[in-house]
Amino acid sequence: MTFAATVWLITRKDLLIEARSREILYTTIFFAVACVLVFAFGFVREGRAVTDAAAGILWIAIAFSGTLALGRAFERERQNETLRALMLAPVDRPALYVGKLLGVLILLALVEIVLVPLVALMFQAPLFQHIWLMLGLLGGGTLGFAAVGTLFAAMLVRARSRDVLLPLLLYPMTIPVLIAGVRGTAALLQADVDEPMARAWVAMLAFFDVVFITLALWTFEPVMTE
């Protein structure tokens, strides 16, 4: 079986299971909305959000709900020991990783389709004015976050206290991605839009993504082997 065929099979399996119950999608979207609401109480004064609050809240919501989705996605594989069955399959290990990553990415993209307009609406943030740069930031940021997250969540399936260890490992490790996401978004939201700055952060994100994905593909096999 080719690499691409394996990847597609894994992703399709995950999406099919998710489509039947929509459990992760619905709970994650609701969690993201709840996050925005909670942060709004912290950062809105006299009816107006403080400077740069929208960018920060958007990326915190992505990071928090992303962690939740990652944990849930792999909890599903753990319950029936299906991750072990996957690892026993005679296919490329990196293909398994890419397949799981794609599934998580599609899920997070669906969450962001709800989340981004919501933030734009509630904080009067012109998120759609520079749509391509914004898409670049969202795509690059989510990919970097999910690339590290998928590797760690897969690793932690076998570990004890995995629920708390996942955010503990994931947040410090993805700080560069989150900083790039927040600063890039803030550059697009400020009064005089700083397009070169946003473009620089998109390039930085692309660089992070390449490094993180290469490392994850490289370490996935030995880390997952028992």
Binding site: V148, F152, L156, L165, M173, I175, V223
Partner: protein, 219 residues
């Protein structure tokens, strides 16, 4: 490392640490920052050793993950613990200086933030090893590789962002009276680091041996 070399190096390190304060006192007085600048001779070398240690942990982890050698794992663990220890010293001495030089204890500047992030990554590594249960040594090795790979971003970030932290280029341009104590302290701390690393690895080695012996008597 044999016991003999260890003792010699330990005595040498102790002598260097005893002499270091005299060199630091004799170093010229920095005109704008005054006395508080002297913390630089401890702070900067320890920071360098901390990053060195994170690399040691990352490389040892990669060797363990791909070569499956237990000694590499012991080195990775020892180096990770020392990264956290030296990181703690950096994060304590930094604010002491910053309070006098900048007027605040902490700035959300690239260099400070990234040192904190590196420290948190290796703290998470230790937590994973402690509470992750069986098999967490391989998982932790993956974390250490990622952590060490993050370090260059940490180092470059200072040049990408505008920052208030003194740039790393300050080190080669030090004036002559300041250069000697700085490198003297650096060598002393590297020596201390090597000694602690060897001690910690020896301890881990003995623990593994003890476990094997215990299992043998049980079986």
């Amino acid at each position: 490392m044999t016991n003999r070399t260890f003792t010699i190096l330990a005595v040498l390190a102790a002598a260097m640490f005893l002499y270091a304060p005299f060199m630091i006192v004799a170093a010229p007085y920095e005109s704008t920052m005054g006395l508080v600048q002297k913390i630089f001779y401890f702070h900067a070398p320890i920071g360098m050793v901390m990053f060195l240690s994170s690399f040691v942990s990352g490389i040892a982890s990669a060797r363990y993950l791909f070569g499956k050698r237990a000694s590499a794992d012991r080195a990775a663990l020892a180096a990770a613990e020392l990264t956290v220890l030296f990181g703690l010293i950096v994060l304590v001495t930094g604010p002491l200086w910053a309070r006098k030089a900048w007027g605040v204890w902490w700035q959300w500047d690239a260099r400070l933030t990234s040192a904190l992030v590196m420290w948190l990554i290796f703290l998470a590594y230790l937590l994973l090893r402690k509470y992750g249960g069986p098999g967490s040594d391989r998982l932790a090795a993956g974390v250490a590789i990622f952590g060490a790979a993050n370090a260059p971003f940490v180092y470059w970030s200072v040049n990408v962002w505008r920052t208030v932290h003194p740039k790393t280029t300050v080190v080669p341009t030090l004036q002559s009276g300041m250069r000697e104590p700085f490198w003297f302290c650096f060598v002393a701390f590297v020596l201390l680091y090597v000694l602690l690393l060897a001690m910690r690895m020896g301890l881990e080695h003995r623990r593994a041996e003890l476990e094997t012996l215990y299992l043998e008597t049980q079986g």
